[in-house]
Symmetry: D2
Subunit: 309 residues, 4 copies
């Protein structure tokens, strides 16, 4: 097939302060479906358009934030190749046994990034019990609920040594840099958007002093109208909105940033162009970063820059 190696960001484990409130948020309002619970009480969720066993895991903790992100690889062979090349690249690796802490998942390779984040690579996941139809499929398998997000879309990570981490994503994982925002010097990248396919980004990384920070995890919506419906739900149920509805200059996607009950930033995202690796890199000057991030207002609010989990 023409899509090889890394396929997508397929897994995220998130720390939350209250499971019931979080389930109300992620299940009832965002519209994820609960797949089940792990022995140690974590909740597994998935989007209605996802085939894999689960994609979002909520873990009860003292502080909000990100445990790790998982990237799905197309084959065992490519997983082993990435493992070897990552060692050669010099990043620390940990082996996670199949069906250990993530039910339904095969072996995982946990990679420690110099940004303080952990990225898991894996190639095998069981088919979810409730997956989209494959024999004369209907449009949906169960009534749309809440914002009705289709899948986990991407994450934006904040941390130091973003340049070195980006190198690994590009040189080892063969992901593409789609867009960048330059620093004042006009040379170094403040932020990069990385894609493994046609999608505008699977991951984005911003160079930041504190390690291992999460700016947001994003869920995919069909279009601007679904963004409007999501905003109605946020207004109706007093979900705290950070910014939006608006449009990004970067990726051209339409968006709302909001917070889950634990203070983790979420995004609902849609639109943008089809990315292809033969496209020129899109570059934003620091003077245009406001327009790049929020195309309408063209200003970054303080909260957007400083609040991370």
């Amino acid at each position: 097939m023409a899509l090889k190696g890394v396929l997508r960001t397929g897994l995220v484990q998130l720390r939350v302060l209250d499971l019931d409130k979080s389930l109300d948020h992620y299940r009832k309002h965002i519209g994820l479906t609960e797949v089940g619970r792990t022995e140690d009480g974590r909740v597994m969720l998935k989007g209605n358009d996802e085939f894999d066993h689960h994609s979002v895991v909520l873990r009860l903790a003292e502080t909000p934030g990100l445990d790790y992100i998982g990237l799905k690889v197309d084959t065992k062979e490519n997983l082993e190749r990435f493992e070897a090349e990552t060692k050669a690249f010099g990043f620390e690796i940990e082996e996670i046994a199949p069906n250990s802490d993530q039910p339904g998942f095969g072996r995982r390779i946990a990679v420690k990034l110099p940004t303080g984040h952990r990225i898991d690579l894996y190639s095998e996941v069981e088919l979810a019990e409730k997956h989209p139809g494959i024999k004369n499929p209907k449009l949906w398998i169960e009534e749309p609920k809440g914002m009705d997000v289709s899948c986990f879309d991407h994450a934006l990570l904040y941390g130091p040594n973003a340049k070195e981490a980006t190198q690994w994503f590009v040189e080892v994982l063969e992901m593409s840099i789609v867009e960048v925002v330059k620093k004042e010097d006009g040379v170094e990248n403040l932020a990069v958007w990385l894609s493994a396919s046609n999608r505008g980004h699977d991951l984005a990384i911003l160079d930041y002093d504190k390690p291992g920070k999460l700016h947001h995890i994003s869920f995919h919506l069909e279009d601007w109208n679904a963004i409007g419906h999501a905003a109605d739900i946020m207004g109706q149920y007093n979900i705290s909105i950070d910014v939006g509805p608006t449009r990004h200059g970067v990726t051209r996607g339409q968006t709302i940033y909001f917070f889950d009950p634990s203070g983790n930033r979420n995004e609902v995202f849609c639109g943008g162009y089809f990315y292809y690796p033969d496209m020129p890199l899109r570059v934003w000057d620091i003077e245009h970063v406001g327009e790049g991030i929020f195309y309408y207002d063209k200003v970054l609010n303080e909260r957007f820059l400083s609040v991370v989990s």
Copy 2:
């Protein structure tokens, strides 16, 4: 990069009976931009979101229909590999010199399919003069016009020996079969949808007695609302609609089929799911083909099955 080999259907040369009427249709109503004319009077057009020199070529002829479709390959090396493997596969090949009949295009390999269609492979195309911005890019480079299609999306080909052709797309070009409609026997495929990326299809092929036929070429729109706007334009300017606005069961895309002034069927298309090669194949029985093609009415009109160019 994780997108390798065939990237997309990037070129189509179409036969039309009247250039002025066709330009009114493709430029003013569909919203393509004219790039220029070839020495022999063919018109080169492109979508506003495309970077390559051009994607649609109109050739004045006695009969409407398709001259050929072009697939863009990521590298020269892969192009040469596909060339060798195609010869080994047993399909006839013709070499087209760089910048010969398609200005801005590098060398092409013209492959003769047993369906009677010609598929050109190429890896190098000059950047269009009017391409999307890359330095602090604005949302659009020129005012949206007409249906404002973003790019050439895909084509549906009708011809004999579809099975053998499909084998070549899968085994040599490494494209994926996304969905199929089975014949009465429940074994052979009546139609297959082929993708090289996340998109639901770059090409579809239907097994048909007459060779080299075109069912439709499709252009991409942003969402259902753009489909509605396109329908308004068709109604306003008396463009002959075949079917729609409606939704496909196959790919779940939203669509309108209509005709250009020469009788070539066009489609405007949006939506559908992100395809990944780790997804199960979606299969439609012949009894459900009506629902598969038109999810709302669930019936194929005679015109849809019999009118090709």
Copy 3:
């Protein structure tokens, strides 16, 4: 207030062949809310954006069709005035006691039209238990369900002597003729669209040989996107679609015609212009009736013209 006399079509009693199937249709799929049942087993329903006690009543019967339509009048005084003027106009009247067959409704004046239809006039209705919020109102009072129609919108009646009936709507009820379709002679009206407010139509009447026929009752949707969502529900649950999604030339509204399980035609409708009585009458020739009714295809299907209940 500036809106005086007749306010809107606020009530419809419909005959259905099966209550359970009908409730699945009108409640689960169309999204009306059940208010309760009458002593004789009729089901009272309302749209989520309606304040009055109920607007749609389903009556179990041997044949589908319309019992009557009710028009709400702003005051008792105007109701009495309309009563007197209707007698003077020569139409038969029947008095319906308050809270008799329609719980929550005050006295009604049932008027017998020469088209064979019955129109009830009333000015007093109790507030529904579940009505839109009035103190710091939220966007909705309960989760949107199904097509999520906001209210009963209008009806199209087929019957003889449409001219005389129209005269009564205009001269006695002071409603306005918004648009007309002319007959072959270019003089007489084949169909008229009547409005009591800014809305494109509260009622439409088509001159037809059989008396008392219903072409369709229509429910209001927010926009074209809601029309698309409604079509998805029709496709998902195999609701029989007559025509659409499409747009009317007349009123410029966007629409889908479909059938309830008893064969009564329904419509979901949105859009169109704000009508004002100082606007010129919009006139359609019989040659343009196809475009007037269906702006995209420009052709009336046989079913549309002949199937009534």
Copy 4:
């Protein structure tokens, strides 16, 4: 007809600091059509869905702001009645001769409100040269441009003695109070929304210390998608956005507030419910005013409260 007396806000004369920049804004971006110029150089504009000669007039001046708003009355008789009743009510009146300063307009009655605003009443206006079609009308008379607003929708006025002014709108002009925001005392109204028809508001008035101030004039759009397109145009052409895209709790309309080049606030507005005078008044406490004005963020920005022209 059932719509009597005041029909709508049909005229606004605005002060601008630069005609060319203002025309770029109101004509090219907002999408109004220029009707012509008055002898003293004012520019007359109209929306594509309006029949009257013009609705928006731009006057070059030293300071931005509102000259006056005009309300169209259905008949001469009602205009004369309103004139007499207004004198009796005690408001000062000035007679404006037909075809004097507003070409195409019949006699006007200029009423001086205690809020410092001038409201003109008129009943006769010539049909615009470019009006929507009335014989087999097409969807539009000319290609949509810019935000493609359909008509002038309403205005929000800031000034003292709002209570007395409101009394006149209700008692003399027979307009309805649709929604109110209460002051801290929970008794007096801080702001009222006034309608003459089904529309959520034709005018709104906020009690304010400075007289004759304009908060915004609003233009009508079809739906949320048109709001998104309008936002794209604002982003593309660096139009200064105040707030939005968002939704109001009051009227439930969807909106963007932005500024014209002279500092006059504009709004594009769509949606909301059909208003009827038999609906209960919707009341907002001062504690909920944030949610009432901006349903998503639930906070009023300082600019919204203090910047008027």
